[in-house]
Amino acid sequence: MSLLHLVILSPFILAIFIPLFYKSFRNIHTGWFVLPLPIILFAYFTQFFTGVSSGNAYFYSFNWIPSLGINFDVYVDGLGLLFALLITGIGSLVVLYSIYYLSKTKEALHSFYVYLLLFMGAMLGVVLSDNLIVLYSFWELTSLSSFLLIGYWYEREKSRYGAQKSMLITVSGGLAMLAGVVLLYLMGGTFSVRELIANLDIITASELFIPALILILFGAFTKSAQFPFHIWLPDAMEAPTPVSAYLHSATMVKAGIYLLARLSPIFADHVVWFVLVSSVGIVTLFWGSFSAVKQTDLKGILAFSTISQLGLITSLIGVGSAALYYDFLDDNIYIVAITAAVFHLINHATFKGSLFMVVGIIDHETGTRDIRKLGGLMSLMPITFTLALIGCFSMAGLPPFNGFLSKEMFFTGMVNVTKMDIYNLETWGLLFPVLAWIASVFTFVYSMVIVFKTFTGKYQPEKLEKKPHEAPIGMLISPIILASLVVIFGLFPNLLSHSIIEPAMASIAPRLLGPGEQFYVHIYHWHGFNTELFMTLGVIGVGILLFLTLQKWSSIYNVFPKELTLNNFYDKGIVGIDRSSNKLMKLFMTGFIRDYLVIIFAFFGALMLSTLFIKDGFVADFSDTAPIGVYEVILSIVMVIGAATTLFARSRLTAIISLGVVGYTLSLFFVLFRAPDLALTQLVVETVSVALFLLCFYYLPELKKKSKRLKFRLTNLIIAVMAGTTVTLFGISANSTRLFDSISEFFIEASYKEAGGKNMVNVILADFRGFDTMFEVVVLGIAAFGVYAMIRLRIRGNDR
């Protein structure tokens, strides 16, 4: 176990002690005990910078279940390091923010920080694991801790609803991903990502390749809230705002993106990957930005904005996979898409994290997040306003912030799609830049809505629960740091390019690099007058126009009937599954014992008869049968008449006596078939049984008239005849196929020589097979005790 293993596990270890700190130090906010850990981890991860940026990677192995090929292998390369830095860096800021956001006295802080630490550890595990099963374990742990965090205020119904919804959707995706991982193992023979990449030619040749690809994409899309699985994310906004900032903008929702990027070297060559990833991404981008405009809740806008931006990154990864098709590094214009994906991933984490914190501050200071109630807060909350302005302008893609740079590169990537000569893109490639442009216009509109509807316009103090004022400084530190990063990365983007973007790209597309080669990324502010610049100018122009006329056209959102929304389908689906399973249960769990017996008999009858006929198993061989004598025929007739009489008997006495007739005839059969012991026992037992039946005759009421419903009796008759026929057919077939001789020669030989008895049946019962007899005695004893207990032990009326 290396230090890196301990680093991944350290949040779990700290989580154990958090309740202890919470109980012992009630005066100190529990968050202070948590805060040092992510800071230390962040500092620890920065030391990998030099090694990773010069193209190295770090690998440490630790055996977990080596016999199944499951090892806790950690692997730090550019991509893993980028995510680890995001997780620990934003994690520190979120913990700091939460210390001021959550009340020391009113909230259950120990649960909050335990869940948060679980999440942090799980997320580190996801991004640093090399083994796919370990990755999957951590992946599910992120789902679980996210579920706990969304339902943190569990007394609210909407929290519980949101938590359940996110759990159902992400876990179903996670299970699909597990199936995909298993398929990968079947193809490549290993769970290790790096070894799978090494065995790439075997995997791509396999017919399981496409199913594995689709299953893994399903997992990634549900986690990263891609269309149509994005519906859980807006409902996850019921979580406390630090959670939304951390999980649902910067880290967990990017786990799916991470998976796409990590497995790109395996799958990205295939056309299905390109089509699915890029088109799902672009649809999500468009739908998210379009839906965000109609939201009235600030966190709702940010949720749809997150969905839209995740779609942007996904589509870039999809388009970037085309770079692998043009299998060389120089003049490969599609590499820009990968660069843009990585760069925007960082940018989105910075501005979206700060925006969520800003919204949290507004909520905290005014008591509402509804933009219809807010307005005119600019002079009251100047610092918050500045932060919101920076974040939103960056999100809208305005210079000089980092969002501008990544959006320009995004446009470049999308415009390049039209130049591709593969996958029939000449015909439908144009859709990419068009949809991207429209989505950017909506992005611009909702970004402006956040800033200007909240901070400018009419101040409505009567609608607010509290008197608004600037937030305490502690709450502002984290968003200020993030907003400064937005500005710094905007002004000096090349700080990132060599240190982290290039190594991350090397992990996404390792095949493009020859030995010793490196990607070279240099981000410019000014590209000259090209298509992208005009697209941006168009976005700003049309965006401003749309924002100013928002009132006039917002009615188009009502065109969609409510019944056709995805949420409605989800809710109907959940209710429908519940109802239909209930109906199904009611259908056969009737509570009538007869119905269950009908099912059991019908099932066995159908199974056995169909087996008999499908396997052609029915044999009737008369050569080895004993001759039929007169006595047996007479006894058979008596027995059949006895059995029939029990069926038609109107009185209890007739039924009991006919049962006795069958029993005594059976003992006569035993006499005829040379079984004296059986005949004796049967006589005695039948006598006692009949006596017992007569006891019941005395105490039980007269038999009911038979059921009037003919259909009912007909069903019973059919089932009964089927059971009888099955027994007869199997009896005849079994009797006609004797595969080997009886073992009874041994008993005949040995019963006197070895056991000293001449009655073979008794010798078998007491000597050769004495255990049977012992437990048969036990059965009799238990029955006797049971009878005794039933008669004697009675709960008196009052005790019931």
Binding site: M589, G591, F592, I593, R594, L597, V598, F601, T625, A626, P627, G629, E632, S636, V640, A643, A644, A655, V662, L666, F669, F673, R674, A675, P676, D677, L678, S689, F693, C696, Y699, L700, P701, L703, K704, K706, N716, A720, A723, G724, V727, G731, N735, I743, S744, F747, I748, K758, N759, M760, V761, I764, L765, D772, E776, V779, L780, A784, G786, M790
Partner: protein, 113 residues
Amino acid sequence: MEILMSIVAGILVTAAVYLMLSRSILRIIIGTGLLSHGAHLLLLTMGGLKRGTVPLLGEDASSYTDPLPQALILTAIVISFAITSFFLVLAYRAYQELGTDDMDKLRGNENND
């Protein structure tokens, strides 16, 4: 002979299953009784019929009937007797406590299904 006995056993099972599907407890128990008779008859038949004398060594015969199925049936008879008597007392007690022998009424109420 074995064919005939198989048919008789089948008829016993038919009657038993039909009785077990009825509403009265007594009929159901009579059905289980018939079912065990059918099973014992079938066991004996499957062991082969009339293939020698009674399985007692003093008989001095050249061949004996297979003793093993007989031992099995003897065990089965005792066990089914134990079960039947237990069932009968159970039916008696159920009728005493619940006041009905109708299986359709013995299904709990809507609250505990």
